[in-house]
């Protein structure tokens, strides 16, 4: 029987786990952390670091928790004297050649060697008369450097490249205390997913050149988010320092991206730090754009929508949250509307060892959310339609030079809801500053129909507000009794009343791992108009 449950006792806590579970996994369920280096839940376990040795009753020797399967009635001691003594010994060996680099090491503060040594290692060395092994820093690839001195040879990186990326360019070269991580001759660590070795490295041996010396781990604020790179919707943490995004790191979600994210997504954070953002609503007054307040701007927007004659065009970005896409689409809820998002395409780059995980061709995170909210993907047709439309609304789309040329000097009225304002669009009737995905709460719908939340990671610039707030206020109309959504959670709950696919969903139900919904539209084809 595959799901036969065994009862094991770990540090006095009894847990029931399926047959075949390792002690380290069972301990995780019991809420006991077994210190470990070579073990990683998404990699095969070689049991070579000897850090996870635990005492198992009725067994002569200490057992490695990462490869020992549990058996019925087993009693395991993780923090017994014997197990602690063993770990202390392992740590002492690891530290013989480990340099005292903590002040200059990027990993400092999130280093497992530092943590475990502080918890249960020796306070001082007994090997001070020996010189430490020294090897120069090596350049492994476009974004990765290898500092061999700090390496503890857990081989997580080697196993990731071999078993998960299936591009075995890394190896353990030499033997004994001369061993180091080598790279195959004439090769570079330039796989599309190679950045993960930096996250996997428990010490500061493999480092990202992009993040090098940028921030100390304890300066960072971590916010749960979703990668805005492609339709895969990898779960990430946005690390910010003083309201500046400094890196994206994968956040484990076993159903989407396990523990990984691709290099394309990892590097796609710079646009969130732009300094030339729109900060106040601007209104056309006597041929010039003049800053105004939100009340005036919202009234003007409402009047423009009421006055608009003829067909309307809504051009949006696929990075926009579902809430914003849904509410803004609702503003233009009439038959002659062309709504489209731009979907830049790239090459698909799968991660071989993990099923259904790839950098997808469609490089926008919310393609499917947009389709559910009634947006099409025929961008060129929508831009053409804008040239004859009575009203054109832009929802922060990424515009290239051709788009800008087509959109400057339109006959109809132009409303720009955006983070930036191109010079070509200065003829707009109304310009409303909106927030980016890092500055608001919202949801994306990934390619499998998983609705996933992202949280606000930094403060919005100036008076910028989320687009759902703008649209919600305009829909509710002016006055103190107007019933507009006040929070993103509120906006998302109301989305269900507008679009059947989201009916009954709330933020609480989504949690931080998301929930699946059926996708109605098929990829590429325009979904039906807003319902």
């Amino acid at each position: 029987m595959a799901d036969e449950l065994l009862t094991v006792t770990i540090d006095g806590i009894a847990v029931q786990v399926p047959k075949g579970t390792t002690i380290i996994e069972a301990a995780k369920q019991a809420g006991v952390l077994v210190p470990h280096y070579c073990y990683h839940p998404s990699l095969p376990s070689p049991a070579l670091c000897r850090m996870c040795l635990v005492e198992v009753e009725k067994s002569a020797k200490l057992q490695p928790a990462c490869v020992t399967a549990v058996s019925e009635g087993q009693v395991v001691h993780v923090s017994s004297e014997k197990a602690k003594e063993a770990r202390k010994g392992v740590l002492e060996f690891l530290l013989i050649n480990h340099p005292l680099d903590c002040p200059i090491c990027d990993q400092s503060g999130e280093c497992e060697l530092q943590d475990y040594t502080f918890q249960e290692g020796r306070a001082s060395t007994r090997y001070s008369e020996y010189a430490k092994r020294y090897n120069p820093v090596e350049d492994f690839g476009p974004d990765i450097i290898y500092v061999p001195n700090r390496c503890i040879l857990c081989t997580r990186c080697v196993r990731f490249m071999e078993d998960v990326a299936e591009t075995p360019v890394l190896n353990v070269s030499e033997r004994g205390d001369r061993a180091y991580i080598g790279i195959a001759p004439e090769q570079e660590l330039d796989h599309a997913w190679s950045g993960n070795v930096v996250d996997l490295c428990p010490v500061g041996s493999l480092l990202s050149k992009d993040f090098l010396h940028k921030a100390r781990a304890w300066d960072l604020d971590k916010t749960a988010s979703i990668c805005p790179g492609c339709t895969q919707g990898c779960n990430i943490n946005i690390d910010t320092r003083d309201d500046v995004v400094v890196r994206f790191r994968p956040r484990p979600n076993l159903d989407v991206n396990r523990h990984f994210m691709c290099d394309y997504g990892r590097m796609g954070y710079r646009w969130l730090n732009r300094g030339d953002r729109l900060e106040a609503p601007l209104m056309l007054d006597g041929g010039r754009l003049v800053a105004t307040d939100w009340d005036t701007a919202l009234d003007r927007f409402g009047a423009l929508l009421d006055d608009a004659a003829g067909p309307a065009v809504l051009l949006a970005s696929g990075r926009t949250a579902t809430e914003s896409l849904g509410f803004v689409r609702r503003l233009l809820d009439r038959p002659d509307v062309t709504a489209a998002i731009k979907v830049p395409l790239g090459d698909e780059a799968p991660l071989a060892g993990i099923p259904n995980l790839a950098l997808r061709r469609e490089r926008v995170p919310n393609l499917h959310g947009a389709q559910l909210a009634g947006y099409g993907t025929d961008w060129a047709a929508a831009v053409r339609a804008a040239s004859t439309a009575g009203l054109v609304v832009l929802l922060d789309p990424e515009l290239d030079r051709d788009d800008l040329a087509a959109l400057s000097g339109l006959p109809g009225r132009l409303v720009v809801m955006g983070t930036l304002l191109a010079d070509e669009l200065r003829g707009a009737e109304l310009v409303l500053p909106v927030t980016t995905m890092a500055e608001e709460n919202g949801t994306y719908v990934n390619r499998d129909g998983r609705v996933q939340r992202f949280l606000q990671a930094k403060a919005p610039p100036g008076m910028a507000r989320p687009a759902w707030w703008i649209a919600g206020e305009v829909l509710a109309g002016p006055g103190p009794d107007a019933d507009a959504p006040a929070t993103a959670a509120d906006a998302f709950a109301r989305l269900g009343a507008m679009y059947a696919a989201f009916a009954g969903l709330t933020y609480a139900e989504l949690g931080l791992t998301g929930r699946m919904i059926p996708l109605m539209g098929t990829s590429g084809a325009a979904a039906g108009a807003a319902r």
């Binding site: 002040p103 400092s108 820093v137 090098l212 304890w218």
Partner: protein, 168 residues
């Protein structure tokens, strides 16, 4: 009613100034033969009897290595520990791949001179100085940059008594 003034009739020896003057001058001349306690500051900064404590915590000084570069490796511990939040640090990398501070600034106005920065420094780079003469013509000059901190030459604080490091 007219204001009446009562005239006291005191004995001559109690109201005579000659006696008080002589008493005062006696004290004055006595001091001419006693040891001098006045210190001629600013010409004279210390005397045998009075000198500034080696544990005095004054404005900072950054120590340098043999090549004259600051010993700081921009580890970020001093801005982290600083209770007044007066240290600004931006790390960078030099041509040899060494980590060093691109920007290191201490706002001496905000500083509370607790000495934590010196205590936490793993490289023994930043120190609080045994120094108290800090007058400037502008407020801006009180934000000490790395160059200023490194070019100071005054003595640095020992923070604790070397003979009794644990304060027992």
């Amino acid at each position: 009613m007219a204001i009446g003034v009562k005239v006291m009739k005191r004995p001559e020896r109690e109201v005579s100034y000659v006696r008080a003057t002589l008493k005062g001058m006696a004290l004055t001349f006595k001091h001419m033969f006693q040891p001098r306690v006045t210190m001629q500051y600013p010409e004279q900064k210390s005397t045998d009897e009075w000198r500034i404590s080696p544990r005095w915590r004054g404005t900072h000084r950054m120590l340098t290595d043999e090549q004259g570069r600051s010993k700081c490796v921009a580890c970020g511990l001093c801005p982290q520990v600083c209770p007044a939040n007066c240290i600004k640090l931006v790390p960078g990398e030099d041509e040899e791949g060494n980590r060093y501070p691109l920007i290191y600034e201490i706002d001496e106005f905000r500083c509370v001179f607790c000495g934590y920065c010196q205590e936490v420094c793993p490289e023994e780079a930043i120190h609080v100085g045994v120094h108290y003469e800090n007058a400037e013509y502008t407020r801006g000059r009180f934000v000490y940059d790395l160059e200023r901190l490194s070019s100071q030459t005054h003595a640095v604080s020992t923070l604790w008594d070397p003979a009794d490091p644990k304060g027992e």
